[in-house]
Amino acid sequence: MEQFLLASGTIVAGVFGCVAWFWGSNMALDAVYPARGPRAGRNMRHASAIRPWLFLGPAILLLSAYLVYPVINSAWRSFNDADGARFVGLKNYQWLLADGKFHESLSNNMLWLVTVPALSTLFGLVAAQLTDRIRWGNFAKSMIFMPMAISFVGAGVIWKFIYDFRGEGLEQIGILNAIVVYFGGMPQTWLVTPFWNSFLLMAVLVWIQTGFAMVILSAALRGIPEESIEAAILDGANPWQVFMRIKVPQIWGTIAVVWTTITIVVLKIFDIVFVMTNGEWGTQVLANLMYNWMFRGAPDYGRGSAIAIVIMLLVTPIMIWNIRNARREMR
C-alpha cells in the first residue's frame, strides 16, 4: 500500500512538475520580453530564440546526467584500476584481449547476433504473411505477440522450467524432457550441454522478438498496393513467387529496420542469460560478463567498464544506421 501511494505520488508530482515548469517558464519569459511596447519586435525575437531552450532544458539536463555523464565516467574508469584509484592506461583492454571468458562472450554474442535477428525476422515475416491469410489470423497474431509483454527475466524463468531436468526415475517436470521421455528417449541436461545450450537460450529471445517483427512486417505487407499483387498473379506468378519476388522486395526497408532493431536488443542481451545459466557452461555473453566483474565478488570497476565500452562501441554503428534507415522510411 505504501509503495502504491509512493508511486502515485511520484506520478502526480512528476506530471504537475512538468506542467508547472513549461507553463511557469513560458510566463516568466513573456514577462521579461513582453510582446508589446516600443521594443515589441526585438523582444519577440529574443523570446523565440530562448523559448526552445527552456522547453528542451530539462530533457537535456536529465539526458546529460543519466546518459552522457555515465558514458564519460565509464570510459574514464576503464582506464583505471579495480577501485578507480590509479590510472592504468590500456591495461584493462590488454587484459580483455587475453581473457578466455571475454573471447567466449564475444563469440557467443556474435552467435546470438547472427541467429536471433535472422530467426525472429524470418518467423515474423512468415507469421505476418500467414496470419493475413486465415480467418483466425488476428487471434493467432495476439498469441504470437503476447510474449512481447513478458519481461526477459520472466521469460527466462518460464523457459528454465521448460528445459528443466530431473534425475532418472523421477518425474520430468520440464516439458521438453517430458516429451523426450514420452517418446522413449533419455532425459537431457539441456542447459549444461555446451554449444547447443546457447541456442536454447536464444530460443527464448526469438520467442519474444518474433511478435515484434510480425507486427511491424504485417503492417508493411498490408501497405503493398493490392494491384501490384494482382498484376503479378495475372503475370502467372504462383503464391510463393508473389511473396518472394513482389512482396518481400517491396518491404526490404522495413525488414532492415526490424533486423537491426533486434540486433541492438541482442547485443545488450543480459537478463535471459543471467536468469537461466548465469553465463556458465559456455553461455557467457558480454553484458553478463560486465555485470560479473562490476558487481560480483570483489568488484573490478576498471575491467567492468572496459567491457561496457566494448558493448557500446558494438551497438553504436548499428544504432546510427538504424536511425538513418528509419528516417528514410518515414520520408
Binding site: 494491384e227 501490384s228 498484376a231 495475372l234 503475370d235 513482389i246 517491396q250 526490404w252
Partner: protein, 349 residues
C-alpha cells in the same frame, strides 16, 4: 485473339447480388467499352473475366473455352490497372519481362520481345530506369507494355486513364486506339468517362446497378438511347427532359403541342428528351420561349440555360453573338430529333 462471351453472369457477395445475369458477346478483335457510374458493376465484371473475382453463377467463355475455373494466368488475358500496378523495385525491362519469366522463350528471344514492345510504346530509352524515375504517362506505358509482351488473346483495361491529367489522357486515349488498330487484339475497356467510351469504342456497354442498360455503337447509344438513364448518361451536357402528355396524336409539352404518332395508349404520361445540341436559341418564335439565366461560353458555341416557366433547359447559342443574360429568347428544335420515353423510362419510337 479470341471472342469473349458472358452468359448470364452473376456476382453475389453473400446475399447481396451486385451483378444480375449479364450476357454479352464480344467479337474477335472488337474494342468494347464498359461505361457507367461508380458502383454499377463494370469493374467487377472485368475482374471476373480476368479471374480475380470468383463467378457466382453463369459462364465466361474466352475463345472456345469456358474459363470459370481457370487460373488467371491460364486464361490468356492481360490487364492494365488504374494505378498502373507496376513493380516499384524492378526496372522497366524487368517489369515488362516479368510475365515472360514462365514462358519457354530463351533469354535472347525474351529480350528481343521486350525491346519490340518498348519500341512500339517509345520507351526504349527508359528500359533500365526504375518506375520512380518515370512520369505518370510513362508508367502507364510500362503497364501497357507488360500487358502487350505476352501477346494475350484479350486485353483488359480497368480505368487506365483516370489517374492522368486531362491533356495526357487525351493523348493516351489516342495511343491506345492506335495500338488496337495495329495489333487487332480484342479489348475490353472499363471507364466511367463517357467521352472515353464514345471516342474509343467499337461498341459501348452501358451499365447501371449491376445490369446492362444498352449495348451499341457510339452512334446508336447517342442517337437512339434505350432509356432515360442512357440518354442522360451519354452526351455532355445531359439531355433535357420535360414531362409531357400524349393524347389524340398530340404531345403536349410545356404548353406546346407537337403532332406525333406513338405506340402509347391515349392519355399516357411520357417524358420528352431534347439534346442541348438540338435545341437552338433563335430570334424567331419557335417551339419554346424563356429567359436566359446563365451563359457558359465554350468558344465555338455558348451553352445557354433558359428558364421556361419554372423549368431550366440547356440550349445551344452561337459562340460569336450569344444572347444577353436576362433576355427573352426563343428555342427551336427539329421534332425529328426529339426523344420520347414511357413512364417506365424505356424509349418509345
Amino acid at each position: 485473339m479470341a471472342t469473349v462471351s458472358l452468359r448470364n453472369l452473376v456476382k453475389a457477395y453473400g446475399k447481396t447480388e451486385v451483378l444480375h445475369a449479364i450476357s454479352l458477346d464480344v467479337a474477335d478483335g472488337e474494342f468494347v467499352v464498359f461505361v457507367g457510374p461508380s458502383g454499377c458493376g463494370k469493374s467487377t465484371t472485368l475482374r471476373m473475366i480476368a479471374g480475380l473475382e470468383e463467378v457466382s453463377a453463369g459462364e465466361i467463355w474466352i475463345g472456345d473455352r469456358a474459363v470459370n475455373h481457370l487460373e488467371p494466368k491460364d486464361r490468356n488475358i492481360a490487364m492494365v490497372f488504374q494505378n498502373y500496378a507496376i513493380y516499384p523495385h524492378m526496372t522497366v525491362r524487368k517489369n515488362i519481362g516479368f510475365g515472360l519469366r514462365t514462358s519457354k522463350l530463351s533469354k535472347p528471344d525474351r529480350n528481343r520481345r521486350i525491346d519490340e514492345v518498348a519500341a512500339i510504346l517509345s520507351m526504349t530509352d527508359y528500359l533500365e530506369r526504375k518506375p520512380a524515375q518515370l512520369s505518370g504517362g510513362q508508367r502507364q506505358r510500362v503497364a501497357i507494355g507488360r500487358a502487350m509482351v505476352r501477346d494475350p488473346a484479350v486485353f483488359l483495361f480497368d480505368e487506365p486513364l483516370s489517374n492522368l491529367d486531362a491533356q495526357l489522357r487525351t493523348q493516351m486515349r489516342l495511343e491506345i486506339k492506335k495500338l488496337h488498330q495495329r495489333v487487332g487484339t480484342t479489348v475490353i475497356f472499363v471507364t466511367h468517362d463517357q467521352v472515353e467510351a464514345m471516342t474509343m469504342a467499337d461498341r459501348i456497354v452501358i451499365m447501371k446497378d449491376g445490369s446492362i442498360q444498352q449495348v451499341g455503337t457510339p452512334a446508336e447509344v447517342f442517337h437512339q438511347p434505350a432509356n432515360i438513364f442512357v440518354a442522360q448518361f451519354i452526351g455532355a451536357p445531359s439531355m433535357n427532359m420535360l414531362p409531357a402528355r400524349y393524347a389524340g396524336g398530340q404531345i403536349s409539352v410545356a404548353g406546346q403541342s407537337i403532332k406525333a404518332t406513338l405506340p402509347l395508349p391515349d392519355g399516357s404520361d411520357l417524358t420528352v428528351g431534347i439534346r442541348p445540341d438540338d435545341l437552338l436559341v433563335s430570334a424567331e418564335p419557335a417551339l419554346f420561349a424563356g429567359i436566359v439565366s446563365v451563359l457558359e461560353p465554350l468558344g465555338s458555341e455558348t451553352l445557354a440555360h433558359i428558364d421556361i416557366g419554372g423549368r431550366d433547359l440547356i440550349a445551344t447559342a452561337d459562340g460569336r453573338s450569344p444572347p444577353a443574360v436576362g433576355a427573352r429568347v426563343h428555342l427551336a428544335a427539329d421534332t425529328a430529333n426529339l426523344h420520347f420515353f414511357a413512364p417506365t423510362g424505356e424509349a418509345v419510337r
